[in-house]
């Protein structure tokens, strides 16, 4: 990335456009990376790479949570084929009844609606395999973040210890 934001140079980091999805933005990623660079104070390229990996794992955790949440929306109970068939049946009945009504569009998510629980359970059952793999990806991303932080701390600890001069044996 050629641009510098708030004094942080992103030139040495991997271009985020290579690994962002369409609903994620380069600016948000760079803001998150910038915050972590400030908080964790990496001093060399090895440590900066660790911070980059922490940011990527962080982003992946949010991504997996978002995908799981999307899978659990009541509107996801039906697959594409199911929806096509339901629309066709609806159109057939409408033609027979000639009531001219339209099939309601998939509702936008509403928060705090406890009555939606049965529909969420049905969505969960309908997409069990997909949700399972995303929960696995979520726990794997959390593990990657823990490992990356641990390695960064080891590198920084090593750097700090190297700065301490060796003890000199006097006399003897």
């Amino acid at each position: 990335m050629p641009n510098d934001i708030d004094g942080v140079s992103y030139a040495e980091f991997t271009d985020p456009r290579r690994f962002l999805l369409r609903d994620e933005s380069v600016e948000d990623y760079e803001f998150r990376l910038g915050q972590l660079l400030v908080d964790l104070s990496p001093a060399n390229s090895l440590e900066r790479r660790q911070v980059e990996l922490i940011t990527q794992a962080d982003l992946d955790i949010d991504r997996q949570r978002r995908i799981i949440s999307g899978c659990l929306q009541p509107s996801k109970v039906t697959g594409h084929t199911h929806r096509a068939v339901v629309e066709w049946r609806h159109a057939s009945h409408r033609r027979d009844d000639d009531d001219g009504g339209e099939l309601p569009a998939a509702a936008e998510p509403v928060f705090g609606d406890r009555g939606a629980t049965p529909a969420i359970i049905r969505a969960c059952q309908a997409q069990q395999a997909t949700i399972d793999i995303h929960y696995r990806a979520l726990s794997e991303a959390e593990r990657r973040r823990r490992m990356a932080i641990d390695l960064l701390l080891q590198l920084q600890d090593r750097r700090a210890r190297r700065a301490v001069p060796d003890a000199q044996v006097i006399g003897g």
């Binding site: 690994f19 991504r63 995908i67 594409h80 084929t81 159109a91 399972d132």
Partner: protein
């Protein structure tokens, strides 16, 4: 058509595919401050080899990560969408027998189930390759740090 060789999966998903020399070279330059082409035979000591190994693992990790992200979209396969489009056309076509429509619907449900299973399988493989790439890269980093940046105290030296 014969059975697919499962050992080709890793190549197909990029983890064991031929290395991108430029990506390895960029990581090597970040680690050592030197270009890969500048290293002559006499320079290949333990720490330089460790740097090259780490650069290679970093390039693998980047690739596995990009592949993992590319598998995360929950969008339906475009071919599947086209099939569903054909089904919709068929359903609204009045000359087609209702039994034919019913059979088409039944087959589409089967194909869609297979499509979902295929997507989940790809995600599972991508996740496994990412975890492996990360683990190998972390090991290479530990070796590189210990060899290229030895601490004179506390007995943390590692010999090549």
């Amino acid at each position: 058509m014969g059975a697919r060789d499962p050992s080709r999966n890793a190549t197909r998903h990029g983890v064991l595919a031929a290395l991108d020399v430029e990506a390895v070279g960029a990581h090597f330059r970040d680690l050592t401050g030197r270009r890969l082409e500048e290293i002559c035979d006499a320079d290949w000591d333990g720490s330089t080899r460790a740097a090259l190994d780490l650069a290679t693992r970093e390039a693998h990790l980047d690739r596995a990560h990009v592949h993992h992200v590319s598998c995360q979209t929950t969008e339906i396969d475009p071919d599947m969408l086209e099939l569903i489009g054909h089904l919709e056309g068929l359903l609204y076509f009045d000359d087609v027998l209702i039994d034919t429509k019913r059979e088409a619907i039944r087959r589409m449900f089967r194909v869609e189930r297979f499509d979902v299973a295929n997507v989940v399988s790809r995600k599972r493989l991508a996740l496994r390759y990412l975890a492996e790439a990360q683990s190998r890269r972390d090991s290479a980093l530990r070796v590189f740090v210990a060899l290229g940046d030895p601490i004179s105290r506390n007995g943390e030296r590692i010999t090549a």
